[in-house]
């Protein structure tokens, strides 16, 4: 159903281990939020675009999103694959490193493994593995993305596990003559999670609001209980509670449920910020004190538990300029391949 003319859908990879969590994700599902359906899609859309563009796919084609560690896949036929997103220490076993921003030909039987990110790097959570034409899974409600909370989309609505066999829409016809690499200039412009995430005040707060000020005035750490639905944040320095305004004044309990989107930062009744991710519920009852701008959502997708995160207030004009820049970056990746 999804194959392009002249291309052949073909089984290309077998999953040996899904690792911490691996799912099929594309650019996400739009227009069904009013039915309670989250957008899903790649948590780092830039990483997704890099992997896809290296193989000549659409930037939002369906790829495999691997999380932190443990993914192993075996090529069942010779196939080109490309990596984008975080450097999670991917290798072709036994020991050939594959950096994000490169494509490589896997021979039949070769195993690509995600062995965990090299020490000392910044936050890094998700890597994207693309195959020619994108992964061939059914389009459900307009997208191939896996919706884990409701159990549909992607491969049978679930995370990948050992024994799963994955088809590429481009099949063997997608094979290229030479591996490709992201140009150094495009690579240098990729978002880095060390940046501060830019936020605008949410509907429950204003620029001078104490809860908004409290959010941007201090560093936070991503708590362990975080996933594709949301990131829970804790103060990076819990002993320094007196250094910034508490978020508690806004924690007036629950509001009548309102529509929410990824990037919204809610405050729970205990005063804990909760940053919504692609699989979050479509409505929520906690006050939204700030919203991460669209251009910085890919950075959110790379924050792993333990990562430090800082926010910075921005303006509507700067947010729009950043969104334009982000789009230009993706366009330049497509044209800057070597």
């Amino acid at each position: 159903m999804s194959s392009q003319p002249g291309r052949e859908v073909r089984e290309v990879l077998e999953v040996l281990d899904g690792g911490l969590q691996a799912t099929i994700q594309d650019g996400g599902r739009r227009g069904h939020e009013a039915e309670g359906v989250p957008r899903s899609g790649a948590a780092d859309a830039v990483g997704l675009a890099v992997a896809n563009l290296l193989l000549g796919n659409r930037p939002d084609a369906a790829a495999l999103e691997a999380t932190i560690i443990g993914l192993r896949v075996r090529a069942v036929v010779p196939v080109d694959v490309a990596l984008g997103g975080a450097d999670l220490g991917a290798i072709v076993e036994p020991d050939t490193p594959v950096r994000p921003g490169t494509s490589i030909r896997l021979a039949a039987g070769h195993v690509l493994a995600v062995s965990g990110r090299p020490d000392g790097d910044g936050p890094a959570c998700r890597a994207y593995l693309a195959v020619p034409g994108g992964f061939d899974v059914p389009v459900v409600l307009g997208s191939r993305s896996t919706c884990l909370p409701a159990g549909f989309g992607g491969l049978e609505g679930r995370a990948l596990r050992a024994g799963d066999r994955l088809r590429a829409a481009g099949g063997a016809a997608g094979l290229r003559t030479a591996p490709r690499r992201l140009g150094s200039q495009a690579a240098a412009n990729l978002p880095s999670a060390a940046q501060r995430l830019r936020v605008l005040p949410g509907p429950a707060s204003g620029e001078g609001d104490p809860a908004f000020a409290g959010l941007v005035s201090r560093p936070w750490v991503v708590a362990a209980a975080s996933d594709r639905r949301g990131l829970r944040l804790e103060p990076a320095d819990p002993g320094a509670g007196g250094h910034g305004p508490s978020l508690a004044p806004l924690a007036a309990g629950e509001l009548p449920s309102l529509g929410v989107l990824p990037g919204a930062i809610q405050v729970t009744p205990s005063g804990q910020p909760l940053v919504l991710m692609p699989d979050s519920g479509t409505t929520g009852g906690y006050p939204v004190v700030a919203v991460v701008i669209q251009a910085d959502l890919p950075l959110l997708g790379q924050l792993d538990p333990g990562a430090e995160v800082r926010f910075r207030a921005t303006t509507a004009d700067d947010a729009r300029a950043a969104a334009i820049e982000r789009r230009a970056l993706i366009a330049s990746i497509g044209s800057g391949l070597s």
Partner: protein
């Protein structure tokens, strides 16, 4: 009981609704009204109206109704926040509460939901009855004797907020949410009731179970319950 927005054409002081930015890619419209039903009618009327005049081609996403709000997503570059806010305020100026409420179905589709109450099907029924100081039979009677309207869909795929529950049945959510509630479970919390669309964690009280499937992504539309529908829970013998 008459569940149409009987107070149609009611107070107009809170019109047009307030529009607030929600980041750089959405606006939140705050809708006032005399009752939950009137607010729902206005919310859905506004959402439908905006969906009609603000097209995907021009960078608009489909509006997302909440209990008292409409979230309107848009492309952060075109139209972008500043132009989007101006456009939505203009569109709201052209609407009147009466016209908006007319988009809410006066003669709704009626969906009957067969329910096994209590026992294994409704493990919280006895606890709910004890908390409320009512016999379990009365809880069932109060729940099943009312016709609800689907006010909006949210939280999770296909989860229909049905209101409003009899005041005698209003309870806060469970102190500790269940990590898994089965699809088809009939749940209550506050002044709302719903049917669990899929297996999921929930803090709502489980008082029964239905064999009716309310969510199937292979169907179009995937949800059985849609905003405005009238819902009746029918106890199974």
């Amino acid at each position: 009981m008459r569940d149409g927005p009987a107070d149609r054409g009611g107070p107009r002081a809170a019109w047009p609704p307030v529009v607030r930015p929600f980041g750089d890619a959405a606006l939140l419209i705050e809708v006032e009204g005399e009752s939950a039903l009137q607010r729902a009618a206005r919310v859905h009327g506004i959402a439908d109206w905006i969906a009609d005049v603000c097209s995907a081609r021009d960078g608009w996403g489909r509006p997302v109704p909440g209990a008292e709000t409409v979230l309107v997503p848009f492309d952060p570059v075109e139209p972008g926040l500043v132009a989007a806010a101006a456009r939505i305020r203009d569109v709201l100026e052209t609407m009147s509460p009466g016209e908006v409420e007319q988009l809410w179905p006066d003669q709704p589709r009626i969906v009957e939901v067969p329910v096994r109450y209590g026992g294994e099907a409704g493990p919280d029924l006895d606890g709910v009855a004890a908390s409320l100081g009512l016999p379990a039979d009365d809880v069932v009677l109060l729940h099943a004797s009312r016709i609800y309207r689907v006010l909006f869909i949210g939280f999770m795929a296909g989860f229909a907020y049905c209101g409003t529950l009899a005041a005698e049945l209003a309870l806060p959510r469970r102190a500790s949410p269940r990590t898994r509630v089965d699809a088809g479970s009939i749940v209550i919390a506050g002044r709302m009731t719903s049917v669990m669309p899929v297996d999921a964690p929930s803090g709502w009280h489980v008082i029964g179970h239905t064999s009716l499937s309310v969510w199937d992504p292979r169907r179009d539309p995937p949800g059985r319950l849609r905003p405005g529908d009238a819902v009746r829970f029918v106890p199974e013998a």
